[in-house]
Symmetry: C2
Subunit: 77 residues, 2 copies
């Protein structure tokens, strides 16, 4: 299995949106893990080593993709 | 099938990186299309209507995710 790790920091709107994204990955090819860096500070070094500069980010087979969807103002109302 | 559309503007390094990303999507759930907005300007309105503000971006079931991996300087050398 290939690996994909989704790093985030807990914004509920972002978590909803990006779990949709994570669930779109091919489950027969990828083992996906989700890491809340706010709660799991021990994983910060892993994230940095993979090249993660901001969250949310998805690391696919060692390549970091920064995803800046964030939250729409309208979603927060 | 659900739909996912990847919008980009032709940077070769980005295309390589993000085709890896697109190929990670579950093929039994998603019909994925790739649109080069530099070449297919008629699709700009679709991209804007989906909420795309910058490229590269992936629209999954109508939700835009902006991906700012871009290119590492080292990849361009």
């Amino acid at each position: 299995m290939k690996t994909a790790t989704f790093y985030h920091a807990g914004c509920p709107v972002c978590v909803d949106a990006e779990q949709q994204f994570v669930s779109a990955l091919n489950p027969s090819e990828y083992k996906v893990s989700v890491v809340h860096l706010g709660n799991e500070k021990a994983r910060l070094a892993d994230a940095e080593a993979a090249g993660v500069k901001s969250v949310p980010a998805l690391v696919v087979e060692g390549t970091p993709f920064h995803i800046n969807f964030g939250a729409s103002i309208s979603d927060l109302k």
